[in-house]
């Protein structure tokens, strides 16, 4: 009786300690995550001189001058629309092309499916970044260096292995009976695709969109070798301009970094649930 009492007391003590340790860990890592971002935001409102005098305190004389200048110097007025175009265009392309191929692979019998599908699956293992030099040479060979088409093509191609994989696996779960009865009613495959497959594949389309929007919006390595003209660049390329010679002009650099950070933060705040779910569903490699 007495012994049992002590064990439960000890158990309770251990449980409290575990909770305390859990909270401490969470709080420490939360601060470590948020403080650098907060520090950046805070200092983006200081003049470079004020930053150099004190970088740990709140801005004494907050100013938006950094943003105005960074926006001009980084040509963000040009790059923002480009980023939106590349992200939206490539995402729509990936989703559409993947669903089409996924439908064919999942629901139309063909001897070509096994080798083709496996080809896409192998692509899951290849990171497109490791192909940037041959891609650069290929794009020059085809005469599409410094074009939006090249950027969109490469982004769509890079997204296809995961897109085709997720789309095919998802469309397999659509009941065959649905498609067969539509066939008996005389519907062609494209009509079935438009009227049955696409509406039923919205969840996988959302997952694919979420994954591709975040990765394409932030992409740097590939677009860096595909375009060199300012009119064609995306935001990450513009932000990178603020390293190097401009990196001592802290005020402007911080404003540029914040400009690069805010759209994705907003996107995350709005679509957090979908993003979290999409990441868990899309974490497939081979």
């Amino acid at each position: 009786m007495n012994e049992e009492h002590t064990t439960t007391a000890m158990g309770r003590f251990a449980a409290v300690m575990a909770k305390a340790a859990a909270y401490i860990m969470m709080i420490v890592f939360t601060i470590m995550t948020l403080y650098p971002i907060f520090w950046l935001l805070m200092n983006s409102f200081k003049s470079t001189r004020e930053f150099q005098m004190s970088q740990l305190s709140l801005p004494a004389a907050p100013t938006l001058a950094n943003y105005v200048e960074a926006w001009k110097m980084g040509d963000f007025g040009l790059l923002f629309p480009n980023s939106i175009l590349y992200t939206a265009g490539a995402t729509i392309g990936i989703v559409f092309v993947s669903l089409l191929a996924g439908f064919a692979f999942a629901k139309i019998r063909s001897r070509a499916t096994t080798p083709l599908y496996n080809g896409f699956i192998i692509g899951l293992l290849v990171t497109t970044q490791s192909l940037m030099i041959p891609l650069f040479l290929e794009v020059n060979l085809l005469g599409i260096y410094n074009t939006r088409v090249a950027v969109l093509l490469v982004y769509i191609g890079a997204g296809l292995p995961l897109g085709v994989y997720l789309a095919t696996e998802y469309i397999k779960s659509i009941p065959n009976a649905l498609i067969e009865s539509a066939r008996i009613d005389g519907a062609g495959f494209f009509a079935i695709f438009a009227r049955i497959v696409v509406p039923m594949s919205i969840p996988v389309a959302v997952t694919l969109s979420i994954l591709n929007i975040t990765s394409i919006w932030n992409e740097f390595a590939l677009i860096n070798i595909l375009v060199s003209r300012t009119e064609l660049k995306s935001l990450p390329l513009g932000i990178y301009k603020f390293s190097g010679s401009l990196s001592t002009d802290y005020g402007k650099q911080f404003a540029a970094l914040t400009i690069g950070m805010v759209p994705m933060l907003l996107f995350y705040v709005i679509f957090r649930k979908q993003i979290t779910r999409g990441v868990a569903a899309g974490a497939v490699k081979g």
């Binding site: 939360t30 064919a104 139309i108 083709l116 290849v126 497109t128 970044q129 030099i133 990196s247 979290t276």
Partner: protein, 374 residues
């Protein structure tokens, strides 16, 4: 019969019409570059027109020999391995612990912690790289924070000395104590420290006490300018720290999503039968997640090989190329100085093969030792 044949043709046409867009783009972006890198890595192509320009031809395995005998290649490969290791032994365990804490409801507001810890993942790697470059810079916030603390400490010790001396009663003994406090920093200013410092302090008679303290601090507290990113032997550490900072949240999400698939009745039954928290983790949760753990390791490998921009922005591969990873090593061989395109293409192909080999090895390990799941 005729109708069936007609249907077969229609089916075939529809199939290819649907598959071709994906197939053609895929060939253009994945398959053709791989073939191109095979061809060029075996050649002596030196830029210029690929067709109709200067002749270029077969050069055998020369470029591969050159890569494997280049210490910079092995350094870059080593850094890629470090990134995999920090993922497998840093991000994975941390992510697992966070996920476990949230899953077992050891803390309130599960959505909040999860939401916050994932934030770095959605930021642009360029933003993250440049941000941390500034944070780690010699006069960044880490340096300022440490310097502020050091100065405050010195100041309070000075104050104690002065208040012990009771106002402005400057004795040789007090000056000597002050010099002790300042340490070797003092000797660089004076040839004969004690009388010279005493004279200096006495010259402040009449001016505000705070001014004296402030000037003494300026004189004696040495500014620390850490060289996290410019010392070759440690520059990789901040890079690895940032990678840990950035991607741990992803593994948290992966683990948590898969923990939530575990049947809670099993855990409750085990708890009723007297299993401790530790036993629940060891015998129920970890085995159920073995597939996720392998999957995460594979993600870590491919993440390491695909990373480029973070290090490109943060260190540019420097100082003196010690923080180069394979992708940056390849990039520098293709675009910096005298481009060596066969070499760069050889590296490209090696990277593709390395990812196949590593992921294959991980899967083989899973087959051998895993398989508790499903």
């Amino acid at each position: 019969m005729l109708q069936r044949k007609h249907r077969g043709i229609e089916e075939g046409r529809a199939y290819w019409a649907m598959v071709l867009p994906a197939f053609l783009i895929y060939v253009l972006v994945m398959a053709f570059p791989i073939i191109l890198s095979v061809v060029l890595s075996l050649s002596n192509y030196d830029g210029g027109k690929m067709f109709g320009g200067d002749a270029w031809g077969f050069a055998g395995l020369k470029s591969y020999a050159q890569v494997f005998s280049d210490p910079l290649f092995w350094n870059a490969l080593k850094n890629n391995v470090y990134i995999v290791l920090i993922s497998v032994f840093g991000q994975l365990p941390l992510g697992f612990i966070f996920a476990y804490i949230i899953y077992r409801k050891l803390v309130k507001w599960p959505g909040f912690w999860q939401g916050v810890l994932y934030i770095p993942n959605i930021l642009s790697v360029i933003v993250v790289g440049l941000l941390w470059q500034t944070i780690f810079s010699p006069n960044g916030p880490i340096a300022e924070f440490m310097n502020t603390i050091a100065r405050a400490g010195f100041q309070s010790k000075l104050e104690t000395l002065f208040s012990g001396a009771g106002g402005f009663n400057i004795t040789d003994d007090l000056v000597r104590k002050m010099l002790n406090l300042a340490g070797p920093a003092a000797s660089q200013w004076f040839t004969d420290p004690v009388p010279e410092l005493k004279e200096l302090i006495l010259s402040y008679q009449g001016s505000p006490h705070a001014l004296l303290i402030n000037d003494l601090c300026n004189l004696f507290v040495q500014k620390w300018s850490p060289e996290f990113l410019s010392k070759p032997d440690i520059a990789m550490l901040p890079v690895l720290f940032v990678i840990l900072w950035m991607y741990t949240g992803m593994y948290l999400i992966l683990f948590l999503a898969n923990m939530q698939k575990i049947d809670t009745q099993i855990i409750e039954a085990a708890r009723i039968d007297g299993a401790t928290e530790w036993q629940v983790m060891r015998f129920i949760i970890v085995p159920a997640l073995s597939g996720t753990i392998v999957n995460s390791a594979i993600l870590a490998i491919s993440g390491s090989l695909s990373s480029f921009a973070l290090i490109f922005a943060m260190t540019g591969g420097g100082p003196s190329r010690v923080t180069e990873i394979l992708s940056i090593y390849m990039y520098n061989n293709a675009f910096l100085g005298r481009p060596n395109l066969p070499l760069a293409n050889a590296i490209s192909l090696i990277m593709v093969l390395v990812s196949f080999a590593l992921i294959g090895a991980t899967k083989a390990l899973e087959k051998r030792y895993g398989g508790k799941e499903e």
